[in-house]
Amino acid sequence: MSETLLPADEPAVAAAIAAAAAAGEPLAIEGRGTKRALLRPVQAARTLSLRKLSGITLYRPQELILSAWAGTPLPEIEAALAERGQQVVAEPPDLTALFGATEAATIGGLVATNLSGPRRITAGAMRDHVMGIRAMNGLGEVFRSGGRVLKNVTGLDLCKLLAGSHGTLGVITEVTLKVLPAAPATGTVAVRVADLTAAVRVLSAGLGSPYGVSGAAVLPGEHPLAVLRLEEFPESIAYRAGRLRDALAGMGEVSVIEDAESRALWRRVRDAEPLEAAPEEAIWRVSVQPTAGPGVVAALGFGKSLLDWGGGLVWLAGPATAETHAAVMAAAAAAGGSFTLFRGPEALRAAVAVLPEEPAALAAIGRRVKAVMDPRGVLNPGRMRAAG
């Protein structure tokens, strides 16, 4: 990375992209660059950082709406929300430790990578709470999609198209989020079981109950711990934890983890700490139907795994080799799911498919969509796939 462009406002971002398109010179697009090791290395001589496009532009707590420039650090948004008892619904992870980053992620980067935490399973993904964006295409032409209201089906939802496109289809400059009140209390019902299959049975029972479970993970170990989170008013926590405890009593040794300890536990799950990945190891995220999660772990025979989302999100850590990666791809495919090479050395990430291949008809549409959004191919080339 030789040169980094640091535009300070949206017109300057647009000018930089228009110039890059005119010159046919690709750009690596980033917020604060905390997730450079995610997916494939970008083939670009220059970087465009949105870090100077920072700050909350609108916050209406009664309307459950917050807008911010894409380069706004997540902690700044979380602090503003916390003052009014609200939160970012999708509970995005803090991956600074995992990626060895030195500063906090930006809201634009979290939307562009569609990263969600444990609450995803009941409250939706990061992209589900993006009510509107300002963005520009690969020619620097600015457009808006969505708006600043909670329900909007006007026109094609380009917010969804850009969320999760890792900066390859457009550059998001401003994000409008739906936010919600943070529950005043939390608690966790934990069940010690014999193996992962038994653990996912506990999670399925909890998520298939009427008690509003908002997190369902398995802490690894010789005897795994299935954990089910409640987020409610304090009176409801006591009641619902009691009911869950009774319902799950036959499935293993049940305990209840109280408020403060529960919060700490779910922060660790959110940030994938229980995975205990060594610095030299690669990390994968595999998404499958929940009951297939234990099978993915068993097929690979890794020592290191962490199940979240009721068993459907499988975090894996293992040797950073093409052979291991091929085994993960095969296990995800066998389980009918999806995978991401989430962290790995640059040589590995450049050499393998970091995401599943798409069926031919869809891949063809994808190339056409890329061509209309970024006709000169200057936005993050190579980030998601070797060709584009």
Binding site: K151, L156, S165, G336
Partner: protein, 481 residues
Amino acid sequence: MISLPEPKPAVMARRAEIVAGLQALVPGDGVISEAVRLKPYETDGLSAYRQPPLAVVLPTTTEQVAAVLAYCHANGVRVVPRGAGTSLSGGALPLADAVVLGLMRMNHILEVDYANRLAVVEAGVTNLGITNHVAADGFFYAPDPSSQLACMIGGNVNMNSGGAHCLKYGVTANNLLGLKLVTIEGEIFEVGGRYLDAAGYDWLGLLTGSEGQLAVITEVTVRILHSPEGQRAMLAAFTSNEIAGEAVDAIIASGIIPVALEFMDRPAIHACEAFAHAGYPLDAEAMLIIEVEGSTAEQDMLLGRLKEICERFAPISLKVAETAEQSLAIWKGRKGAFGAVGRISPDYLCMDGTIPTGQLPFVLKRIGEMSASYGLQVANIFHAGDGNLHPLIMFDANDPKSFHDAEQFGADILTLCVEVGGCLTGEHGVGVEKRDLMPVQFTPFELDQMRAVKAAFDPDWLLNPAKVFPLEGNAAFQTAA
């Protein structure tokens, strides 16, 4: 009136040949071409617009859908996908040279998986059909548009339908896992699956709410949830729209997100009360229906807090249901709102804008002024938690001036919604109804960017044409003079 494109003369001239071609692909009684049997397909929930199609084809499998689309693509025939035909925005309105592709015979629930909390269903299964199928086991499918008895899941996905309970459970997009689709070329593919958040572009998100512009959906994998232990409603009536709006703000600020938070203005209260005799306070200017979920004790706790909040705003009526029956009685009038308005007016247009909730008093005041100036009555129903406003404009379709004024009144309301920071449609879709208002909300470039994405899926503009995007400046259409 909204203009529709000129039929393609070459297609009209080959009608008999096209019907025979479709019959070869969907044998038996799967193709309809007689004028009298095309009649039921000439309109949808926006019944002011009517146009019989070239033919109707009713496939029973995804492979038949693919064959029909490949045939239409090869022959340059326009295709209008249709579920139950309940669209309030004319999303299923045919064109004279188009084949209506009806999915209603694909109505099977293919699989229910409680351990993974999902169901795989064909596009023609009704919304309520899913819930009815899993209710005995304690589960439900969350989005609940008012047409849920009739509307089909394929249409719900295409319109990203909402409902009264989406404040808590989200809209259709938040309750999907995967789709099986067919491109206009007749290629079958799947997006998503039985798991969350497929890596790669979010095709599932883009296709949801795409109003039949991108591909034809034949199968849907939906998330199902366990029902809460119970639910109960309360009613609070106030002396002005402003005060009711302040009560809504106070409820949200308290940290309670009710499962439903419905607002009715004075004309809506009167219409519903006359129809349903639900015991609504006729001296109120505005009324809220608030519903909470949980165990009986939890309901008591939440309703108690909500009652305290409402009491701060000098309510003229405050009724907390103590039983499920009392709760149903509170909902009875609101759920019959469309029938109630239909009873006092020969016709009505149901509008669907969204506004920032803080703008409600101003918007209702302006709608009242417009109502007086057009000489047309309007009743307002509002999903207050999420800002989705449904003005019901009453008119007489047999009087051309009344219809014209009603359309203009509706356009003025939606323009106002955009001016105060909102949007043209919260859950009904653009369809033909709001197509020509799109420039009010979007710049010419924004429309072009969306058109370019549409064309990446459907380069010849054969799929559900003349909807969503204004025709002006689009070389794919020649409009009637």
